[in-house]
Symmetry: C2
Subunit: 387 residues, 2 copies
């Protein structure tokens, strides 16, 4: 099963069951130059955090750069901060929001600042999306509500969109940009002679928030975002800052099957955060299954949880209880649990999650101004010009 869909690693076939020490992950990590989160680092992380998280335990976040140094800095009292972001090109789906729930958990455990960049400029500059700037500004506000609904601390979290916060970032963006030439962004991002000059400059702006504090920055993000941080790591110290640390996640598989990534161009592949229970039921019901063609055959031969999207989603996020998950897996393999039953379990979990999320999203409308302008961190940030 290929749970990766990015252009960088399409040739890997890896399953979530074979994370530790398995050859595919070693290859992937070798190709990217990142490191596997090994058992020892995991245990240390969990011990310092004071709590486990199934996204860690199951190695959904499986790879890292300098996570050990983040823990060193935390333990020595130096501290660190978190940075993540969102390209506001449309409504968010469950695959988009999981990293934010995880980032919120990190903030809870370590009581650190979180900076969340909404790249309205980038999504406008990506011509193929056909969005105008009004669209990406509007999606910035819509997406911010979903992000806030993940439960961030309004006094320790700054949500900003590039076109609004540009003045504060521009001087340091220039310092970053002066260190990066076309040859480099061409190699890292695949830019060509046809790439527009806004998009060519943009990586400088995505690097800036990693320099918001003179502390180490931890970036939780899907592994396909790694190239940005490689450029950051090559120039940060020469600017007097720290190399960004990262913790990389896998992709939640799309409903359409265990290959690739959920895509806005295929709405049936994803569950959106605004989907109602009826839509959730319909989409999951149509999801790719690891079951047999008939009940009789399923009872006899058993299902395959490794390609069953409903089971995968429970594994990735929706069933945090390992023993319950193990039982689902075993019953499914044994043919005791039918595909429809597996789907019903997921439907209930997702519907409950969305109901709660949508409730918090309504409350988020009242909180938006705190995250963007009036919270403790936001107020500090609007006073700063980064030079």
């Amino acid at each position: 099963m290929n749970i990766f869909g990015s252009k960088n690693n399409g040739d890997f076939m890896v399953t979530p069951w074979t994370v530790e020490g398995e050859v595919d992950y070693n290859k992937l990590v070798e190709k990217f130059g990142t490191s596997i989160i090994d058992d020892r680092l995991m245990e240390r992380f969990v011990s310092v955090a004071g709590e486990d998280h199934h996204l860690l335990r199951r190695r959904i976040f499986f790879s890292h750069r300098d996570l050990d140094r983040i823990l060193d800095d935390y333990e020595s009292g130096k501290g660190f901060f978190l940075y993540t972001g969102r390209g506001p090109s449309g409504p968010m789906h469950i695959g988009h929001i999981i990293p934010f729930y995880f980032t919120r958990w990190l903030q809870d455990r370590f009581k650190v600042n979180v900076y969340i960049q909404l790249t309205d400029d980038e999504k406008f500059l990506e011509e193929s999306r056909g969005l105008n700037l009004e669209d990406t500004v509007r999606w910035s506000n819509e997406n911010a509500l979903d992000i806030i609904a993940s439960g961030f601390d309004p006094d320790r979290t700054f949500i900003f969109q590039d076109t609004e916060y540009i003045k504060n970032m521009y001087p340091i963006a220039l310092r970053v940009a002066r260190k990066v030439n076309f040859s480099w962004v061409r190699a890292v991002f695949g830019f060509t002679y046809e790439t527009n000059i806004g998009l060519i400059f943009y990586p400088a702006l995505q690097i800036v928030p990693s320099l918001f504090e003179k502390k180490r920055c931890l970036i939780p993000a899907a592994i396909d975002q790694d190239p940005y941080w490689r450029v950051q790591r090559d120039i940060a110290e020469s600017l007097g800052y720290y190399k960004a640390a990262q913790i990389h996640s896998k992709f939640l598989p799309p409903l359409t099957g265990p290959v690739g990534k959920m895509s806005a161009s295929k709405p049936e592949s994803a569950i959106y955060l605004h989907d109602d229970p009826k839509t959730v039921r319909k989409k999951i019901w149509q999801a790719y299954s690891g079951g047999q063609p008939t009940v009789e055959l399923h009872r006899k031969l058993g299902g395959n949880p490794e390609v069953d999207v409903a089971f995968q989603w429970l594994y990735f996020f929706f069933e945090p209880d390992d023993s319950k998950l193990k039982k689902l897996e075993e019953d499914y393999r044994a043919g005791k649990l039918l595909s429809g039953e597996m789907k019903n379990i997921l439907i209930e979990k997702v519907a409950e999650f969305l109901e709660e999320h949508q409730e918090r999203r309504k409350e988020a409308k009242e909180l938006l101004h705190l995250f963007k302008y009036d919270g403790e961190l936001a107020r500090e940030m609007w006073k700063k010009i980064y030079k």
Copy 2:
């Protein structure tokens, strides 16, 4: 005499005496795709302006794009606006300030808004200058005082530096940037794989002020700035704006000889606006002369005003009276006027000009806030976000 020093036209040999209909200018204008300001357009311009100016009359401003349309728009009541700028990389010299005095004259005559961009970002991004951002910000403020000393109307003039005004310009800069790819800036500006990504983006920001009003924009600038406006003219209408009109000047020849442009790397080649009378005297006294090696030979053979820098400066700017200038030329050619005498005439003119300029520059310190923040136009501009 080659009065042009830019990379675009080093192969041209043109003299200020042979402007009209002469083959060299035709070639130059043909190469750039601009138009000569012919007698008819000149006469119309002077008539609409209600006053003549020796920089026009002598064709120091000799070439244009759409100047006729500017006059149409002015006469029809639609109006136009002026845009110029300065790269704040160091102190300004006389060659830098002449276009500002001319722009001020245009503002006086037509009562139009003037936008003056100080490109602190660009001068930082040009790595070879070795300036940090603090330097270019400081030079922005210094240069603004000299610009103000040229006599602009504080309620009709907005002076802004990119790092301060970026938020107001960024959305429309993105719209410009999305229309310009690497291939294009490579062809126009000679950018390479080694060019940093900030400099690659920068042309978008230089184009933005030409879109500040939904009127035609007239840009008075040395002809080597033309490439920027060619890009502007290719995209402006698709963004719902007008193609920028231009009026192009020649370069004031350096003191070191009639070839090339004054250069900050050769301080003896230029007279700086802060130079004291003693320095002015010394520099002009050492300037390249069109005279003969001895007084006797000069009396006998006469001097050559076409290569005599002192005469050239009087012609370009410092002797507005045509009949006085003609007499100087004739006396010099006839050997009646010695090189030292010509220089003394210029020294007196320049010293007087600088004394008055420096006096106004002192007063400019009190006025700076009007041009940048509090004048009528500035207040309007800080309220606008260009989308």
